[in-house]
């Protein structure tokens, strides 16, 4: 079992890299889409809603397979790592856009009008009045969704990404022993359990007092 510890650890590093990339790019892209949507340009909004609905309805694994096995036909050959990153980031983008948008629309219209009437510009209103209120509402669903999608990095093993599950599976077939798999499973728990507990804490901290 100890023989395969370095393999699993290198898998942990790849999983963390992938997870950080997915979270940062996915949430940033979702926020950008939600802000664009708040401009209220009709055709643009239809486009955003279409993209968001698409990636909310498709299983992440289907998106990964589509990008990894489909794009080479148009002479683009993304690696398994890039395919997984891109797919999960798109899925997280879709979910976070929806959550941010719900947050923005939940801020009462009077807040906008009041802020604008004090002479703040559209951008200033958004930054200083609307978003701070919207964020509070979006934190619990966003952390939940982010954890669920970040766990999806394990899907990368289907397209040969050497993350934890991939490393554990190949170590298992090399050694004819399930110990590396148990080690990999333990690595996921060590990695994600603190995140889940932290998310629980954040959820209670940001919850609206009823």
């Amino acid at each position: 079992m100890l023989k395969y510890l370095p393999d699993i650890l290198s898998g942990v590093v790849v999983t963390i890299e992938l997870a950080v990339l997915v979270v940062v790019t996915g949430i940033a892209a979702g926020l950008v889409l939600a802000l664009l949507r708040s401009l209220g340009i009709r055709p643009l909004n239809w486009l955003i809603i279409g993209v968001v609905d698409l990636f909310r309805s498709l299983p992440p694994l289907v998106v990964i397979v589509l990008i990894y096995f489909g794009l080479p036909s148009v002479d683009l050959s993304p690696s398994g790592f890039v395919s997984t990153w891109l797919s999960l980031a798109l899925v997280l983008m879709a979910f976070s856009e929806e959550i941010f948008w719900a947050g923005i629309t939940s801020v009462a219209k009077g807040q906008w009008e009041a802020a604008r009437s004090t002479g703040l510009s559209f951008g200033q209103t958004l930054m200083h009045v609307v978003l701070p209120q919207a964020f509070r509402l979006t934190i619990p669903p966003l952390t939940n969704r982010t954890i669920a999608i970040t766990k999806g990095t394990a899907l990368g093993t289907v397209v040969a990404v050497t993350e934890i599950l991939g490393q554990a599976s190949s170590a298992m077939s090399n050694s004819y022993n399930p110990s590396p798999l148990m080690l990999g499973a333990a690595a996921y728990i060590v990695l994600f359990f603190p995140v889940v507990v932290a998310a629980r804490w954040v959820e209670t901290k940001f919850a609206w007092k009823r």
Binding site: P59, V62, F69, G70, L155, P178, G184, Y188
Partner: protein, 220 residues
């Protein structure tokens, strides 16, 4: 582009294979959604027991499955258990993994629903002579489910999407069948067809959810 993604001949040739997969995905969903709900209901009912030990154990259980990727659970059952002399088919492994994983999520949602029903409801039900179980089944649960209906629906959508994981353990659902067709034809069209079928099947649910969520937020 059309040749590699929307090739009509390949659509026609792979259609029966992909369609069989769609049918299996529907059947699989009809099996794993009730299984997950059942698991969730058990957890939620256990959580309503006012015993700190039980509550803590349940919270750890739920957090464990929130932290554990479902694919890892599935592989553990499918590839790990045979070493312990227990060889289960891909289908059975999917069923068990979903019972555990989605059960934890459903359980968390149902628990929140039960908590949202005021205690006065239980007291009133009990005072009319209903037993604890009857009060739970006829008074608390119907209100609890209604309060968390959007969350239940949203989780169900995720569960149906998760059935695509079955392809990793050779369950012949939509994605698996599409990948078979793809490797037979050396063409990505079957996967595009499968993705389109997933979208057509689940888009109405996404639209509905989007409306429900916006309404819920606007109602605050």
């Amino acid at each position: 582009m059309i040749q590699s993604f929307f090739n009509p001949e390949i659509i026609a040739a792979s259609w029966p294979i992909v369609l069989a997969g769609l049918w299996n995905t529907v059947l699989l969903s009809l099996l794993v959604v009730p299984l997950g709900l059942l698991g969730g209901l058990i957890l939620a009912l256990l959580a309503s027991v006012r015993n700190p030990m039980v509550r803590w154990t349940l919270m750890a259980w739920v957090d464990f499955f929130r932290a554990f990727p479902p694919l890892v659970l599935l592989i553990l059952l499918f590839a790990g258990l045979p070493f312990a002399g227990l060889e289960l088919g891909g289908f059975v492994c999917v069923a068990i993994a979903f019972f555990l994983n989605t059960g934890a999520y459903y359980g968390e949602i149902l628990r929140a629903g039960i908590d949202s029903v005021p205690a006065g409801q239980i007291e009133a039900a009990r005072s009319t002579g209903l037993s604890r179980l009857q009060a739970m089944a006829y008074v608390v649960l119907p209100q609890a489910v209604r309060n968390v209906l959007p969350d239940l629906l949203s989780n169900t959508l995720e569960v149906v999407k998760l059935t695509a994981l079955g392809s990793v353990v050779a369950v012949p659902e939509l994605l698996y069948q599409a990948r078979q067709a793809q490797s037979l034809t050396y063409n990505a069209t079957p996967i595009v067809v499968a993705a389109t079928l997933y979208f057509l099947m689940l888009w109405p649910v996404v639209r509905l959810l989007s409306r429900l969520e916006n309404r819920a937020l606007a109602g605050r």
